[in-house]
């Protein structure tokens, strides 16, 4: 925890330093700087309220729907381990569609630098290290990219507070987040965070050409262990191709006692 705060304060200092070097004495620059600090503070609070869950397991179901209303189903099981000084570890096993059943994906995400990722192909019994550079690629043909499903880390963005807005009747902060990774598929995300619980309730994604690409809405929030809010459904709408993906989470369990050993290349080979 101490280390994490250290990383955060270091990056905060860095952000401030870069602002200072650009700052002139005009008032608008001071406003800009205040908006950046506030944007970061909101995101930091949102992240901090969601730490300490240690580990979780859950089942994720995706419904892919095209413009004609045709549907296709994806089912995965997910295990995740909180890593205090770095990004989280996660293990994902595919169950649907059936031809990829048993395929498993292991990821060690890092707050700075490329993630480490391995794929297990059950027909070949092969574990393959894959490049994590393709963050913008679609996850199983859905409207979610790998980037959309990876854990949120403060260092992955720079911030700008844009104002307050109502989302589904909830008074929310509106914050722009600019990815620091050049391999990100986005130029910007606009995130709405509700003032009461600091939950992300809506995200708008802007593509590399700075046009609005997708909107993600979180619904059906549930409180776990009296502390952790999880949206049981979320819907990603792609405004450019008319497709959408609905994500439903089931069987959330926290603090199940997972350890590093559950995220080794050996467990990747036998996970179901």
């Amino acid at each position: 925890m101490l280390n994490r705060m250290k990383v955060l304060s270091a990056s905060l200092a860095l952000t401030l330093a870069s602002q200072i070097s650009f700052a002139s004495s005009t008032e608008s620059n001071t406003d800009q700087q205040a908006a950046q600090e506030k944007g970061m503070a909101i995101s930091l609070e949102s992240k901090n309220r969601d730490t300490g869950w240690m580990d979780f397991t859950a089942d994720m179901r995706m419904t892919l729907r095209n413009e004609q209303g045709q549907e296709s189903l994806r089912e995965v099981k997910m295990k995740s381990l909180e890593v205090e000084t770095d990004g989280d570890k996660s293990l994902t096993v595919f169950n649907q569609p059936r031809d990829v059943k048993g395929t498993a994906f292991l990821s060690y995400s890092h707050s700075v630098g490329a993630d480490d990722q391995w794929l297990y192909l059950p027909a070949l019994k092969r574990v393959k290290r894959i490049s994590s550079r393709n963050k913008s690629g679609p996850f199983m043909g859905s409207e979610f990219s790998f980037e959309d499903l990876s854990s949120f880390e403060i260092e992955k963005y720079t911030y700008l507070y844009l104002g307050d807005e109502l989302v589904d009747g909830m008074d929310s902060f509106k914050v722009a987040q600019y990815p620091t990774d050049e391999n990100s598929g986005y130029t910007k995300r606009i995130v709405w965070v509700d003032k009461q619980e600091y939950r992300i309730v809506k995200v708008a994604f802007y593509d590399r050409k700075k046009s609005l690409l997708k909107t993600l809405s979180y619904n059906d929030f549930k409180l776990y262990l009296d502390k952790y809010w999880r949206a049981n459904t979320s819907t990603m709408v792609n405004h450019q191709n008319g497709k959408m993906t609905e994500l439903t989470w089931n069987n959330y369990e926290f603090k199940t006692g997972l350890t590093d050993a559950d995220f080794s290349r050996n467990s990747l080979k036998r996970v179901r």
């Binding site: 892919l64 095209n66 296709s72 189903l73 649907q96 569609p97 059936r98 031809d99 990829v100 059943k101 490329a114 480490d116 070949l124 019994k125 092969r126 393959k128 290290r129 894959i130 490049s131 550079r133 393709n134 913008s136 690629g137 679609p138 043909g141 598929g185 350890t259 050993a261 080794s264 290349r265 050996n266 467990s267 036998r270 179901r272």
Partner: protein, 408 residues
Amino acid sequence: MLVTHLTNNLRSKIIAASLLLLSFGATAAEFESSGQIGTEARYFFETGQYAEQFDHTQTSLFVEPELYWAWNEGDSLTFKPFYRLDSQDSERTHGDIRELSYVHARDDWEVRAGIRKEFWGVTEFQHLVDVINQTDGLEDIDGEDKLGQQMLNLSLVKDWGIVDLYLMPGFRERTFSGRDSRLRGPLVVDKHHVSYESAAKDKHVDLALRWSHSVGDFDLGSYWFHGTNRDPILTFTQEGDTSVLRQYYNQMDQLGFDLQATLEGWLWKVESIYRTTKGEDFQATQAGFEYTFTGVFESIADIGLLVEHGWDSRGESDQNSSGAQNQNDLFVGSRIAFNDIQDSEVLMGFSSDLDHNAFNLIVEASRRFGDSFKASLDIRLFQSTDPTEQVFLLKNDDHLQFSLRWYY
């Protein structure tokens, strides 16, 4: 002494495993049944080079169910039989137990016992370091299909990597196409008269010890294998009025090494082996790279480019040795993933012998239909004007292959 100790250790593990299996019936917590049923059709453009071969079409049906039981949070049993029924080649009508395996897993070690498949290596066009399982040569000629291998495997997860110990009681002979079959040379391999260097024949107990680890951007592995060579030496024999090839399996010691560096979009790969047998010692290496262009032409598709080179110290064949198949061969491939709902994909692979006139080209296109069907259309071309090349033996075997699989 060490081996005796290990053997005793493993023996006690087997006993423990059997006890667990006995208790399994009462505590089974989870059962899963899945698998695939498929049909495959091949059309050969020309008639065969050799007298008994069928003319143009071959169809077959196959099943591969998988039954899985898990209990006690760490114990599991998997049973995966396989059977294929072929319209043309009675040899290719065959079955195998791909897997009948028990796993007992704890945090930092696991024991795996039974019939299993183990894959080692990083390259795509040739799997030099992958030696545990015998090739099922009836399934295809690419060597990707393997027979189940009986084994006892202890796997230890350490801070400095994963250590695997294998004890393999018994050996599987390679399977070869029959007389009626296409995709074979002029002589059929005799499956009845097989000889071995070891007096224990196919009961020889093979051993392997492998270490593998991930350090930052690098994934590496190294092993020692001691036992029956999976590659038979084929010798010409006259049986009555027909000529056949007879299989001889010698003993080998092999050191293997594999490395992949994952740097940005680049995957750099090397596999290398050093094999020593009574007859000869040699070294072989397969090395290359894979690079993926993502989101090409403003789409969501990816294009991967693969280049590998194979080298073998045995060199070309001459009067004294049969040489190596990939003594100086270049492999180039491409994979287009459309990243759509149907997982549409096209794979292309080209291999060429740089010392001779010989190449082959494979294009595979596949797509899912609905939620549980997958169709694939492959085309394979073999070209050679050099009678000493293996590809020359297949020069009339250019074909199209269509397969449809149903997954449940």
